[in-house]
Structures are given as C-alpha cells and as structure tokens.
C-alpha cells in the first residue's frame, strides 16, 4: 500500500502494510536508522519519535494510524530550537555512553521541554521514566534536561 508521511518536514512515500509499526518503516523501509529497536512492546523508549510534537513509541504505532500528522525523528529533531538545545546539553554534559538509547532519550526530553519549559524533578521523572538506559546515564540525563531548560531559546 503506497503511503506518504511527512517526516522531518519532508514528504516520504513508501509501500508498507498499514499494521506495520512506524519503527520498521523508518528503519527497514526508509533506511532512517537513528530510531532504535529496543523491546518491541513500548517498555524501553529506544524507538521514541514525535507525532505532532508528542513523544510516541514507534515500535507499537501502526504506520496506518499516523495519517497526516507530522513525524519527527532523531535525524530531524535538531531543526527545532528545543531539540537543538537538548542535543547541545547532551554533549556539554557528556551524557552519552554506548548511545543506543539516547535517540529515544533525546526525543523524550525534547517533547518534555516543548510542553514544560522548566520541568522540576517530578516532571523529569514522569516524562523520562519510560526510557531505559542500560549504561545508567540517568544522573547526567537529569542534569542535561535541566541545563537545556536553562538555555534561552536560540
């Protein structure tokens, strides 16, 4: 089935069954591998993307349910001021270790800051607890979210 989605502001057309999770469309059909497979059951957050700016687990989102809503992935999140701030803070505080979960962490953090520009610790807990990091970078993730929040919009 030919489908067109707007991904990172650009139209992308492809053939995929409507029940296919967006994750596999991104990775295996479109070759956009920045979005990661972690668990397949929306338990780890590695596959987090934005649908109309909200953080969504793409591993359980059928591509047919996206319709005309805007998809943003890690490859495109830096185009928004809030996404760029998060990426910058992540590097400044050297959050990343293996990095495999960090696409999802950054997408979750960017969605949090877009909705809640000055999150407190409980806001961070609520928004980020769905994202597992096996390297255990949580201390720095928390600090980087706060640092990104403290930067003026560029």
């Amino acid at each position: 089935m030919a489908t067109t989605l707007t991904i990172n502001g650009e139209p992308k057309s492809f053939d995929a069954p409507a029940d296919m999770p967006l994750l596999w469309v991104l990775r295996d059909v479109l070759g956009m591998t920045g979005t990661k497979f972690g668990c397949g059951i929306a338990q780890c957050g590695a596959c987090t993307v934005h649908i109309d700016g909200k953080a969504v687990r793409s591993c359980m989102l059928p591509v047919g349910a996206v319709r005309d809503r805007a998809v943003t992935t890690i490859e495109g999140v830096g185009a928004s001021p809030v996404g760029a701030k998060v990426q910058k803070a992540w590097l400044e505080l050297e959050v990343v270790q293996c990095g495999y979960c960090q696409s999802g962490q950054i997408m979750a953090a960017a969605a949090l800051l877009a909705a809640t520009p000055n999150p407190d610790d409980s806001d961070i807990d609520a928004a980020m607890a769905g994202n597992i990091c096996r390297c255990g970078t949580y201390v720095r993730i928390r600090a980087a979210v706060k640092q990104a929040a403290s930067q003026r919009q560029s």
């Binding site: 069954p17 990775r27 070759g31 979960c101 607890a129 096996r134």
Partner: protein, 726 residues
C-alpha cells in the same frame, strides 16, 4: 544519504590495515599458541600509499589528516577517546583533528596484550595498551622529527613537537606532520624512545570531550544493527524455548501467506523467517506452527539448579590460594559462617543481538558489533565452511556489550541463515529471544567461615562455587580446578588476614549456558566478601568503616579511598528512621574504590536509593570525566541487578522475556551519585566494571544498617524487609 551511498560508506570503512609495526614492538606481546603466522594477511591490505603509516595504529596523509585505528571496541566505555588520547599525547597530534577507524580482525596486529587475542573485556583496555600505545605514538613522533631535522639539516634533539607540527627551536621553522608524512615514511624508527614525563602530559588527565558522542545525539552513529546495503533482507529467529531442544516439525503454510515473507529457514535447533523487513519476518515467525523436541531438559527448574549448586558447594574445592595456617586460624577466636548466593542474569544490552551476513560461494562478509573480532571471524568461517581469510568482519559501535558480545553465537546463527539466502541478510533477535537465549551470568554460591580476635579477622576460609566460564571460553584460565576469573578479587582481598584460604568448586548448572557479565568474577566475590565484612563488624561490635580501616594498613590506596568516601558521604552522621548507610571497598581491576550507599526501606520492604558516594584511585585517569561516567553508570548497572535482576528456569525455559518482567532501574529510581577521583601518578587501572561490583554490597549493607536484616542473596527479597527496622 541514500541506502546505496550508506552502503558504500560502510563497505569503504571495511577493515583497512595489515601494515606491520615499526620497530617490531608488537612482537614483544605474548601471542597465544595458534596465533596466525606472521605476515599472513587476514584482510585486504589498507592503502598506505602516500601516507605515513609507521604502525598498525597511526596513519597520517599529506594533508595532515591523522587516522587512529582502534584496537579495542567502543561499547560505551569511552575507550575510543581514551586510546586516542594516549596515542595523540605521545605523537603530539592535534587532537581536534584526529579521525578514528575500527580495527579489522587481527590477533597479530590488534591482539589485546593482556589476553593475547583481540578482545575487549575485563576492564583492561587501558591497562593492556598503555605502555604499547604510548610507545607507538612516541616512535611515530620521533620519525617525524627525524624527517624534519634532515630537511633542515639540524640535530633532531633541537626540534620540538606540538599540535601536529615539528618546530626547530633556534630558527623557529615549522613543518606540519602532513608536510612531513612522505619523508617520515622513509625514516627508520629509533631503537628506543623516551616517553613523556606525566607532568608534561597535555591531553592525558584532562576531561576531554568524547570523540564518538556527536553522532550519537543526531542519529548518525552506526551500530551493528544499523548496517544497510542494497538488496538487504531481514530475518528474525526462534530457538527451542527449552535449552538444548530441537525443531521437530514446522508448519509454515500461514507464515508463507504473510506479505513480505520471503523464506522460512528451518535448522535443527532454530527456525528463522526472512522477509522484506523486520515486521514481515516477525509476523511470519509468529505465524509458524512449530513442534519442538524439547529433549532431556524439559523438566529442569531453578530449584533443581540451586539444590545441585548447594550440594556441590559443601564439598572441598581446588585450592586457589592458601596463606598461613587456616586450620589454626579457624580454631582461634569467635567464628562466623555464612553463605551468599547470586542468581542467573541476562545481559539485556539495549541493542538487541544481531548480525548482518552476506555469504557467497567464496566469501562471507559480516557487519556487527562484537567484543571479539577474531573469534567472530574464525567461528563464522567454520559455520560458512570457508577459510578464515575469506571472512570479512566489519565491526561497528556496540549498543552495550556487558560481556554478551564476548560470544560469537549471534554471528554463527546469522551465517547459518545467510547460507540459505541469496544476498545479504540482517538477523535481529527479538528482545524475548535475547533474554531467553542469552549466555547467562552464572549462579554462584560462596561459603565463608571467618574468626575474629581483638576486633580483627584471624582466619578466613572462602569457597566459590559456580560455573567456570574460562574452561569454555579461554581454557588456559582454568587450571588445576581453579578458574582465575572465578576467584578474582577473592584471592587478592585487600585485608590483612594472617590465615587465609580460598577454594574454587566448578559446578556447571545443568543445561544453562553461562558467560561473562559486566563485573565478571569480582561481581560475585566482592558482594560476598563485603557483605560478610559487615556481618563480622557487627559481631565484633565495630563500626563497618572502622572495622575495615583496621585491616587495610597494607593497602594505603584503598584506605585513602575509604577515608575519602566516609568523609564525603557524611558517614556516622545521624539519619532518619528506616534509612541506612552501607559501605563497600574493592581493589578489583587495579582500581581502589570505596562506595557508600544511602538507602531508605519503607514499611513494605521497598528500597529507595537516596545517594551514592564513591571515591576512586584508578591511577592516572586518562580521561577523568570518563572515569566518573563509568562509575556512575556501573553503579546503576550493579544496583539494577541487586534490586531486580534474576533469571529463573521452569520446565527447561527461561521465565523472563522482556523489560516488563526482566526489570530495569529507571530514572525515577536513580539515586544522586557523587564520584570523587583521587589524583594519582600510578599506572592506570580498569574502570568499566568497577561500579557494577561496588554497588550491590554497599546497598546490601545499607539495608543491614537500616533494618538489621542480613540479606545473603540477590536480588533483594522485599518480603524479608517489610516491617523491619534496626
């Protein structure tokens, strides 16, 4: 970038190097028996034409582009940056302009000097390579200086180097390394070369930004699972849920009807579905009706495994170390006995197990992320039925390793599938398959008897019972009944004990495959030793920190770490009800670490981590920020296991399957962590696994302090803690 362009980039990154090492210093490494013959190329040679290529690690072209080839793999531990810092330090290279390459498989060129094979593990990358890479950098620098001095007709001793330039002190003339690259290629390296005095280090010891992280925040980093190439197919697999079981019969009629399913591959021990994408492969796999021959393990369960291990642990073991007179020691003073038990654990790397393979009649090419490049190559060669030199391994970043990727099984499985597929195929395991067919951290049982006199330990008899991973993985590490990893941190305990005896009992769990898990042998031994230390302190009527201090007189580095951690954690200061502090110390991996965990235990037995304070003397900290990060992350990794980690077996099957029932610590449960790095001029120690071993005993001791409950098993059993307070 299109898929085709991406493929080109991946292929062009293919292992590049076979150039020999200048000065032959690599030959000084102890190569294992059976290493590849010298000069036998294992990969197409890299193109060193027009480049200064003095050894296997450094390439400088005439534009000055400096490429450093990484003998160890990057799995989050920051080693690409640390190794680059060591090379660039002695080379005096402009660190802002270095580029990195993954090394190809070659034990000869890139064998870990401490293992003899190309492996990344045991927190030893920096320890293993420190002297060798410094020398590689210094020799290369000397050749560049010689080339410049010749051009200027001056004494090389009158030249200095900095930022990829040679300078002549008196005349002020300068030549860049790029301009010197060709001339330096013709220079003979000096026989010997002085290394820098650590006080002159410009890079080492500075908290530099990691080189691998910018592409990890924008989606560009390529892990093994991200390999893409034209005509790529996707596959996922299912092994018999019962260990050792076989495929009996497969009905694939429904699976074949699923759009995108291309092929069903039925092998004796697993079934795979190949499709146009992972979704087709997964749906196809789910639609298969598979009858399994469950074999002899169909009734195996955890209770049987524990019964067998407990029985084995009651017998005498092979003696790993014995000092003084243990019989006399145990007959002196007050005696305490205990046994500690640790469960099976899965690795659960965030990047699920995968390998991409293309098999043709005379070549097998693999794209993956592995801790054991040459082992993947040789095992894949066997599976493909090809000579080793016909197997190309392209290594990538690892989305976590934790010891899981010290195995080659994922590559072998992918080769067996790829042999039946026309074109390349990416084999990705589901998380369920990853958890249920791991190579597990073994179950361990540690029995300890110790005696106390005048507030000190006079006799210590310690017996480790569990799997010998070395016997399978590296047989030279299992000799005379002792697994050198299994007793690591037990035979070299930090305390001054006059009568001291350590045994190892090899007790392999029935049917369950076991392997290395981050923290390796010490994650068992440090837990048992440091837990028992608190029980002994209580029996002696002493504060746990003071009790340890009294026996660390011969270990000043660890004593200093303990004192610093005690001070920074506020040890001894009052705490609220139901809150306790626990301490652990360890000399493991040649780093000296003291850790204090502060935890609160509620009336239902739930444990809340409040704060962790860690003091570390790891010798020269090559990149101090990486040392801090590895401890922060390692502590979370170990505390996760202490709080939640257990793989259990019933009816021959692993009962856990994904993150819903194999639980991970999340950000809302993470404590505040403070790491204090002690300045040191000693040689660098290991750091990647140290936090993993440090966290669990310190938490267990915090619970002991808060509740009075002496836990002797992990994970923490909350039912034992409910309603308890000290």
């Amino acid at each position: 970038m299109t898929i085709a362009e991406r493929n080109f980039e991946l292929v062009s990154r293919r292992a590049l190097l076979t150039g020999g090492l200048a000065g032959g210093f690599l030959l000084a490494f102890h190569l294992p028996a059976g290493a590849l013959p010298v000069n036998e190329p294992v990969q197409p040679p890299d193109d060193t034409a027009g480049k200064f290529a003095p050894n296997a690690f450094i390439r400088i072209d005439d534009s000055g582009r400096t490429t450093l080839v990484m003998p160890q793999v990057e799995m989050g531990q920051g080693v690409y940056t640390s190794i680059s810092m060591i090379l660039a330090e002695e080379l005096d290279a402009d660190f802002s302009r270095v580029a990195l390459e993954h090394a190809p498989p070659s034990d000869k060129l890139y064998g870990n000097p401490l293992f003899g094979i190309q492996a990344t593990g045991n927190s030893n990358s920096i320890r293993a390579w420190w002297p060798h890479l410094r020398k590689a950098g210094a020799l290369s620098r000397a050749m560049l200086v010689q080339a410049a001095a010749k051009q200027w007709q001056v004494d090389p001793a009158s030249c200095t180097t900095a930022n990829s330039e040679v300078m002549h002190r008196d005349s002020g003339r300068k030549l860049s390394y790029g301009a010197l690259a060709l001339a330096a290629s013709n220079e003979v390296p000096p026989k010997d070369v002085p290394l820098k005095d650590p006080k002159d280090f410009g890079l080492i010891g500075k908290p530099l930004k990691r080189l691998d992280t910018p592409d990890k925040v924008n989606g560009k980093a390529v892990y093994g699972i991200d390999a893409i190439m034209p005509n790529l197919k996707f596959a996922t697999l299912k092994a018999c849920p019962v260990f050792g079981g076989k495929v009996a019969k497969v009905d694939d009629s429904a699976a074949k009807k699923i759009p995108g399913v291309q092929k069903i591959v039925v092998l004796d021990d697993f079934v795979a579905v190949v499709g146009d994408h992972m979704w087709a492969a997964k749906k196809g796999l789910d639609a298969l009706v598979i009858d399994w021959d469950e074999g002899p393990n169909a009734h195996l369960n955890s209770n049987d495994i524990w019964r067998d291990l407990r029985a084995a642990s009651e017998k005498d073991g092979a003696v790993a170390k014995s000092v003084g007179d243990i019989a006399k020691g145990l007959a002196t003073g007050e005696r305490l006995d205990a046994a500690y038990e640790l469960p099976f654990l899965a690795h659960a790397t965030m990047e699920p197990i995968n390998a991409t393979v293309h098999v043709t009649a005379d070549l097998c090419e693999i794209w993956t992320g592995t801790q054991v490049m040459t082992r993947v190559q040789s095992e894949a060669a066997k599976a493909a039925g090809l000579p080793v030199e016909k197997v190309i391994v392209n290594n990538h970043l690892l989305g976590g390793g934790f010891g899981r990727k010290l195995e080659a099984d994922m590559a072998v499985a992918a080769v067996r599938i790829a042999k039946q597929v026309d074109g390349p195929v990416k084999v990705v395991w589901t998380r369920e398959e990853d958890i249920q067919h791991d190579v597990y951290r073994p179950v361990y049982r540690d029995t300890i008897a110790a005696t106390l006199a005048n507030g000190k330990i006079v006799g210590w008899k310690y017996r480790v019972s569990g799997s010998s991973i070395m016997a399978r993985w590296f047989p030279a590490g299992f000799q005379n009944g002792v697994d050198i990893d299994g007793v690591d941190s037990a035979i070299d305990m930090p305390y001054d004990i006059p009568n001291f005896h350590v045994e190892f009992v090899r007790a392999e769990p029935s049917a369950v495959p076991t392997g290395f898990w981050r923290g390796v042998g010490p994650n068992n031994n440090v837990f048992a030793i440091e837990s028992f230390m608190d029980e002994l302190a209580k029996k002696a009527g002493k504060d746990p920190v003071d009790f340890r201090r009294g026996m660390l007189g011969k270990n000043p580095r660890l004593l200093a770490a303990l004192n610093l951690a005690a001070e920074k954690s506020g040890w001894g200061q009052p705490l609220p009800d139901r809150v306790g502090r626990g301490v652990s110390v360890q000399p493991s991996f040649a780093s000296f670490i003291a850790t204090v965990v502060e935890a609160e235990i509620d009336e239902f037995g739930e444990v809340k981590l409040r704060r962790v304070t860690c003091a570390v003397d790891t010798g020269i900290a090559v990149n101090p920020d990486t040392v801090v990060a590895q401890l922060e992350g390692g502590l979370i990794f170990g505390l996760t296991a202490a709080l939640y980690g257990e793989v259990t077996i019933d009816k021959g099957r692993v009962q856990q399957s994904n993150f819903n029932d194999y639980r991970m610590l999340r950000i809302d449960q993470a404590p505040i962590i403070e790491v204090h790095v002690i300045k040191s001029g000693e040689a660098p120690g290991g750091i990647g696994e140290t936090g993993v071993t440090a966290g669990p005993p310190a938490l267990r001791n915090a619970i002991f302090a808060a509740t009075g409950v002496a836990l002797r098993r992990l994970p923490i059993d909350r039912s034992l803690l409910a309603g308890k307070r000290s």
